[in-house]
């Protein structure tokens, strides 16, 4: 709809695909911005299903996700909880790179950011999400545990 109404503004300098991607990216970014940010979740905020999903994930040796619709939705809710600690721009960068396997160049083209900016945002986002997940996992058992190195 936006692309259709803004068709006059397309100057034909770049590719149509790039122009459409940019519109979609900006629209998504605005949607994330307009979504009300919740405070960072703690272990006590997790539902039973989410706790079970995390336990199952940690006990799963292969680490393969379960691909039922329900499990995917629980995982998506958990993702929303941890992504909530990020700014909309960082969320976008992380979802595109780690969620959709987009390259740094592709994210840079879609967002209009420089490649170094994409790298910095993704690095920072990964760090924050990992730290938020560490808090959510808390004292759960699972994975490799050894001596302090």
């Amino acid at each position: 709809m936006k692309a259709f109404t803004q068709l006059k503004s397309f100057e034909g300098r770049g590719s149509m695909e790039g122009w459409l991607t940019r519109i979609a990216t900006n629209t998504c970014l605005n949607l994330i911005r307009s979504a009300k940010r919740r405070p960072e979740s703690t272990v006590s905020d997790l539902t039973d299903d989410e706790n079970k999903w995390l336990d199952a994930q940690l006990s799963d040796v292969a680490g393969e996700p379960r691909h039922s619709v329900e499990q995917t939705l629980i995982a998506a809710d958990l993702a929303d909880r941890v992504l909530n600690v990020l700014s909309p721009e960082d969320q976008m960068a992380l979802l595109m790179m780690d969620g959709e396997d987009a390259s740094v160049k592709e994210v840079a083209e879609a967002t209009g950011w420089s490649e170094s900016k994409v790298k910095v945002r993704a690095f920072r986002a990964r760090k924050k999400v990992r730290e938020a997940m560490e808090k959510l996992l808390g004292p759960r058992k699972g994975g490799a545990v050894g001596n302090e190195g």
Binding site: L58, L83, D98, E148, G149
Partner: protein
């Protein structure tokens, strides 16, 4: 190897893009380091949830098409309306109120007589009379040559 190095590897790239060597390095280090093991565990789980999050397809509401078509129709109808009427719609109230205010002020300035200040009026007339007299005098004044010729004529007569 320092813990920081392992964590930098984890934060530097998505799990799917870590090389076999990097993964082996992380795993071997995590076996002997509690903090790195915790970080790696959290990193693996967060990578999984983000992957799953990306797979969720958001279905538009059943009214999406209706809404889009309505928005299109509204936009088209707006484009058909002349510019002036669109301007009038937005600024009509302001312009009308300004016009009414101007008309009221103009009416008041014609209807209400101006207040007279007597002293100032007298002064003004005095000045006008004086200037009138002076003006009249200036017209009757003789020229310099006339004055000289009159004086010389008097002297010669003597």
């Amino acid at each position: 190897m320092k813990d920081e190095h392992i964590i930098k590897i984890l934060d530097g790239a998505p799990l799917s893009r870590l090389s076999v060597e990097q993964l082996e390095l992380v795993r071997s280090h995590s076996r002997n380091c509690v903090s790195c093991a915790t970080a790696y565990r959290a990193f693996s789980v967060s990578s999984t949830v983000i992957k799953e999050r990306a797979q969720v397809v958001v279905e538009p509401t059943p009214f999406f098409q209706t809404k889009v078509l309505a928005a299109l129709r509204e936009r088209q109808s707006l484009e058909n309306v002349p510019v002036f009427s669109r301007l009038w719609k937005s600024a009509g109230a302001l312009v009308a109120s300004m016009a009414v205010t101007t008309a009221v002020l103009a009416g008041l300035s014609f209807m209400v007589p101006p207040a007279v200040a007597p002293a100032a009026d007298q002064t003004a007339s005095a000045y006008s009379a004086e200037s009138l007299l002076l003006d009249q005098g200036s017209e009757d004044q003789m020229s310099y040559e006339q004055v000289l010729s009159t004086i010389y004529a008097d002297d010669e007569a003597k």
